[in-house]
């Protein structure tokens, strides 16, 4: 959790191949890079950038997303960059009933599973959700119930094999309810609490549960927003995530300054906060 600024800077400066080369020599406290990887929401910008860091090392991937054409181009990109094998399956992850079969097929294809990244999600329409519970429920289904269902199965799987990294993309939006996006935020807050519990349960089994809380990232999800200086690239976020996996972190704020921004936002007393525009 404690990271010095300089450490992160040097990490971001380092080019991809040089970096993997270096970590390939297995540092003292660091763990080997994951080799068999399941990615749920594999067409998300952060997931794509993260997979690109691992592909040159010859990792194998099982990718799940809704759009077959998009999935196909992501798979081609990874194979071109050196992935040992890439399996794809199109699925709407909102349908939790299909999860068990899907995850079993993933493990069957990869043989083992070192790491699972849950990256799917939608920002949702806050204004529509305020008017219509059905919209809010849809948002909660995608951003909360769906990952909860996936984590439930994966937690049991990783717990049984006493090994693995379970990485879930949450958001800084879960740190405090704000009028501009509290439906999305509450789903992420619930997810954060759920993952905290799973981590508490699985740490003793040797399993890492990493909650990733990115700030603004320049992705299709935020393409409609004006891009200010706080926006990070998916690549920078992906490098932070990889670093956090190697160093067995629990909660990652990325880029780093969001830890401090959110710490400030959390300490504002509610009587003051309720009058603010955030």
């Amino acid at each position: 959790m404690r990271r010095r600024r300089s450490q992160i800077d040097s990490l971001e400066e380092r080019p991809i191949e040089a970096r993997t080369e270096r970590t390939g020599r297995s540092g003292r406290s660091k763990r080997a890079m994951p080799k068999t990887i399941l990615v749920l929401g594999a067409t998300s910008a952060i997931a794509q950038a993260w997979m690109r860091l691992l592909a040159p090392d010859g990792a194998s991937f099982f990718l799940v997303a809704r759009n077959a054409a998009h999935l196909d181009s992501v798979a081609k990109d990874l194979v071109t960059r050196g992935a040992a094998a890439v399996y794809v399956e199109t699925s709407d992850l909102d349908e939790t009933a299909a999860h068990t079969g899907l995850l079993e097929r993933a493990v069957g294809a990869l043989g083992t599973l070192d790491c699972a990244l849950i990256a799917h999600g939608v920002l949702g329409d806050q204004a529509a959700g305020e008017r219509d519970f059905a919209v809010a429920a849809g948002s909660l289904q995608t951003s909360f119930l769906s990952p909860v269902s996936l984590v439930t199965w994966l937690a049991n799987y990783f717990g049984r094999q006493y090994h693995g990294s379970l990485v879930v993309i949450s958001s800084v939006a879960g740190d405090r309810g704000r009028k501009s996006n509290y439906i999305y935020g509450s789903a992420k807050a619930g997810l954060n609490a759920f993952l905290g519990g799973v981590r508490n349960r699985l740490d003793r089994e040797g399993v890492q549960v990493l909650t990733v809380r990115p700030g603004f990232v320049a992705t299709p999800m935020t393409a409609h927003l004006p891009q200010g200086p706080l926006f990070a690239t998916p690549d920078a976020v992906a490098r932070d995530i990889l670093h956090a996996i190697e160093h067995r972190r629990d909660v990652l704020y990325t880029p780093w300054f969001w830890r401090w921004i959110m710490a400030l936002i959390r300490v504002i007393p509610e009587w003051k906060f309720k009058k603010m525009d955030l």
Partner: protein, 440 residues
């Protein structure tokens, strides 16, 4: 969350003209055209490294291809790379150099997209042996505004293939393209830098050079005996096999706009003097990394900010051999007399190999490129004069670098423009195209 919605500002590299543009990012090659609500006019843009207005569009939508950055296939045996059109030459180098491959042709910056390199049919230091970028693009997919998708190559849709290479992005959206890379043994380039004292000296060195990559920096500010002096640079890929690592990211960046007085005649005279004198010997040889050899300016991000908010104009002409020597001299004299100065002017001999594009800029002769800060009362009349001289000398200007040429000049530089116009996608246009065809 920021709530004020403000259109993102998009500027070309010369930062002139400044137009109100709307940017729509594309992340997948099947995202355009989207359903039925088609914007009236669109133009695909990559990195916006064109200098003038070929990558701009007023009252339309720029489709940003930066999100189309996937590599789709690589044949390790032949070096044929298929990638989406927003992949930058920088990204290709990061991928290809460690595998022993290099770009077949590269302009002076690696921060251009493959789509942009095709649309402007860019050339580089090896033009005399390799022609331009399009000569190494055997195939690509073009998406038209009616939703039609066509694979284009010499054999499939050849007319559209020739029209799209150098077609300034006006024939539709390039979804992906194949680029034939060339093998390298190491990152190093064996180079020689030779001082020359004038244009005849330059031509003599040029004609005796056997190198694969050549170009010259020319001092276009000093007059008298120092007039048209410069440094001729030539290089060849080293054949000594060495490990090939990925380049580090540049650390230098110009963080703010320089005030407009910072670049003046005196500061540029000093720069030109120092640049010429930093090399003491007549001839220097050595082995250098490809980064400083091909991309000296890329080591400073946002270097265009040194020209200040007003921006700058780039002038690039090619003058055919018939008038080459005298033509270039006359142009250099005109620039020197104007009192305007450029701190980096580049001279290069263009080869005989024809470009494949219908509208490609290169032609055999001598090309001169330089940039000049915008001082409205001096710069525009000077550029008008230079364009007219280029026309009289039978040369042509490079649309990718232009912000000034008149429609009449364009149509005389590119008399095939009408033939080309037939292949333009009706929904695709640019500020440049509107400008040079408005009075036709």
């Amino acid at each position: 969350m920021p709530s004020k919605s403000k259109a993102p500002v998009f500027e070309s590299w010369g930062r002139y003209p400044k137009l109100d543009v709307r940017l729509e990012p594309l992340f997948w090659t099947d995202e355009y055209p989207r359903g039925t609500r088609l914007p009236p006019s669109v133009l695909a843009v990559g990195m916006g490294r064109s200098y003038g207005d070929v990558c701009l569009l007023q009252d339309g939508t720029l489709l940003s291809t930066r999100g189309l950055d996937r590599l789709l296939h690589f044949e390790a045996g032949t070096g044929l790379l298929r990638c989406e059109s927003g992949v930058t030459l920088d990204q290709i180098l990061q991928f290809a150099v460690p595998r022993g491959w290099f770009l077949p042709v590269t302009p002076g910056t690696k921060y251009v997209s493959v789509g942009g390199a095709i649309a402007n049919d860019v050339h580089g230091k090896n033009h005399h042996v390799a022609a331009s970028f399009g000569n190494h693009v055997p195939r690509f997919e073009l998406v038209r505004s009616d939703g039609a998708r066509a694979i284009c190559s010499v054999d499939e849709n050849p007319e559209m293939y020739y029209a799209t290479i150098g077609g300034m992005g006006l024939t539709g959206l390039i979804a992906w393209a194949e680029v034939q890379l060339r093998p390298i043994a190491s990152r190093k380039v064996r180079y020689t830098a030779i001082k020359f004292s004038g244009i005849d000296d330059f031509l003599a060195i040029s004609s005796s050079s056997r190198s694969e990559c050549t170009m010259a920096w020319i001092d276009c500010i000093s007059q008298g005996r120092a007039f048209a002096r410069g440094i001729y640079m030539q290089g060849d890929y080293s054949e000594v096999v060495e490990p090939k690592k990925v380049s580090p990211k540049p650390r230098l960046s110009v963080p703010f706009d320089f005030p407009s007085w910072a670049l003046n005649r005196t500061s540029m005279r000093i720069f030109n003097e120092l640049y010429y004198r930093k090399q003491l010997r007549q001839q220097v040889t050595g082995l250098i990394d490809y980064e400083p050899f091909f991309y000296p300016l890329d080591s400073v991000l946002h270097w265009n900010r040194i020209y200040g908010k007003r921006g700058f104009l780039q002038f690039q002409c090619v003058i055919p051999w018939r008038y080459g020597r005298d033509g270039i001299l006359a142009i250099l004299e005109t620039i020197a007399e104007s009192g305007m100065a450029s701190f980096l002017a580049v001279l290069k001999v263009m080869g005989e190999i024809p470009s494949v594009g219908l509208m490609s800029f290169p032609q055999p002769g001598i090309t001169l490129a330089l940039d000049i800060a915008i001082q409205p009362e001096v710069t525009f009349p000077l550029f008008e004069r230079l364009a007219e001289m280029t026309r009289e000398l039978g040369g042509r200007l490079y649309p990718a670098k232009d912000a000034c040429m008149t429609g009449q000049q364009f149509r005389s530089f590119y008399p095939q423009w009408e033939q080309f116009a037939a292949y333009r996608d009706p929904a695709f246009t640019s500020a440049f195209w509107e400008r040079v065809t408005a009075d036709a």
